[in-house]
């Protein structure tokens, strides 16, 4: 099959989970830039998240496999660097699913890169994904993966991952 319409392909991509955070799909993560055909090859363009994220390699393989399972034999996954991926591209559904999974979604829009002066950098207000309390504090600026930080809730006392605004 070489003529699957791109709408169907998007829905198949939407069934591919992020390998590190399986509750959200690669579509919800906001990394799929486009799908198009070049002759008999289906070209899927994705934007990598963090430069060193090992999940990107796995995601590329999963895309080839998933589309292969739907009968598309020739798939090329292209990496597009610019514009750089931002958590602003995560879908509203993806954010809800993150929170439901116990990971606080990004609390701000895109990371501020306009300067690094300490005096202008208030910490983001992150709500606890377990009890909703705003009384939380950062424990570690990095968590189990490059995209997360570790927080603790001052009310329910549970630790939780925070998906950093990027």
């Amino acid at each position: 099959m070489t003529d699957a319409n791109t709408g169907a392909i998007w829905s198949w991509l939407d069934a591919i989970p992020d390998p590190e955070i399986p509750v959200i799909s690669v579509i919800d993560l906001g990394i799929v830039r486009g799908v198009h055909w070049e002759a008999d090859t289906c070209v899927v363009t994705i934007t990598p998240t963090y430069s060193g994220c090992p999940a990107v390699t796995l995601i590329r393989e999963q895309i080839v496999q998933a589309l292969g399972a739907h009968g598309i034999g020739q798939v090329e996954v292209r990496l597009q660097l610019a514009p750089a991926w931002t958590t602003d591209w995560m879908t509203a559904r993806g954010r809800q699913q993150l929170a439901g999974y116990g990971i606080a979604p990004p609390a701000q829009t895109v990371i501020d890169i306009s300067g690094i002066t300490r005096r202008r950098q208030p910490a983001p207000k992150v709500a606890c994904p377990h009890c909703g309390s705003a009384h939380t504090q950062v424990v570690s600026q990095f968590g189990s993966t490059a995209c997360k930080a570790l927080y603790r809730c001052g009310d329910c006392r549970e630790p939780f991952d925070y998906f950093k605004a990027h």
């Binding site: 990598p48 430069s51 994220c53 514009p83 750089a84 890169i113 002066t117 300490r118 950098q121 570690s140």
Partner: protein, 253 residues
């Protein structure tokens, strides 16, 4: 203005080697950090830097046009062929040494990448645009820790001041330009290293002041990284990093 392929290749090696060597250094902390959070943070920063190194070195290989991949450039060059500044190859030392190196580097790295976002070379601009987001986070974190340790106990203050003093002599070459830079700056591909000096000094001064640390005076500065003249430490780092590919050429997994 036309720029030579060789100059662009050299410049990309500088960017790639800088990220690679520091990424390798930081990964030496894996499993040995003074606290779990610090262990995780340093290895995550290492991961970001190695990811950035892959992008720079892949592009370097493309520009060179001799069929060399990022892996061949990383694993099959000797110390004198590396183009990183001496600062990033310095040993991890104590945690104060590691953090001082990281703070001096991150601050420079942020201003460098921020300037390269405007590069007339679309690939360089795209990689810088992506990397600067990660590096802004690194820079804020390392500044924060320098303040906490500098303005911490008498012991942490002393160690942090010693580390800053010891590493200062490696900061001079970060702002040097040679003929490679000159042609690329004229073409808008590279940014002027000298132009990064003032913002870097301002930010470093502000953080050191908040950390109750003294800013060292500029004395003798060690130079040579861009020309492949390294400190003795780089060879040991490469011996460990390159061992597998040297012992088992072409090994894959």
């Amino acid at each position: 203005m036309q720029v030579s392929k060789q100059a662009t290749f050299e410049y990309l090696l500088r960017l790639g080697d800088t990220a690679l060597v520091l990424g390798q250094r930081l990964s030496e902390w894996c499993g040995k950090g003074p606290a779990l959070e610090e262990d995780i943070a340093l290895t995550n920063v290492a991961l970001d830097l190695i990811g950035q190194a892959r992008m720079w070195l892949s592009r370097a290989g493309e520009v060179e046009g001799a069929g060399r991949t990022e892996d061949q450039l990383a694993y099959l060059r000797d110390a004198h062929q590396f183009r990183n500044p001496l600062l990033v190859e310095q040993p991890n030392g104590s945690y104060a040494d590691t953090l001082a190196r990281q703070f001096l580097f991150d601050t420079w790295h942020y201003y460098l990448l921020d300037a390269l976002r405007q590069s007339s070379d679309a690939s360089i601009a795209a990689i810088a645009d992506k990397a600067v987001k990660e590096v802004a986070y690194h820079a804020r974190r390392s500044a924060d820790l320098v303040v906490r340790l500098g303005d911490g106990t008498a012991e942490s203050h002393r160690r942090m001041q010693d580390a800053i003093d010891r590493l200062w002599m490696y900061t001079g070459e970060l702002f040097d330009a040679d003929s490679v830079d000159a042609s690329l700056i004229a073409a808008g591909v590279a940014c002027s290293p000298a132009a990064l000096r003032e913002p870097w000094r301002q930010q470093v001064a502000e953080v050191l002041e908040e950390a109750t640390l003294a800013m060292p005076g500029d004395g003798w500065m060690q130079r040579g990284g861009h020309a492949g003249r390294h400190t003795e430490h780089l060879g040991f780092l490469l011996a460990e990093m390159q061992f597998l590919q040297r012992a088992y050429p072409g090994a894959t997994w």
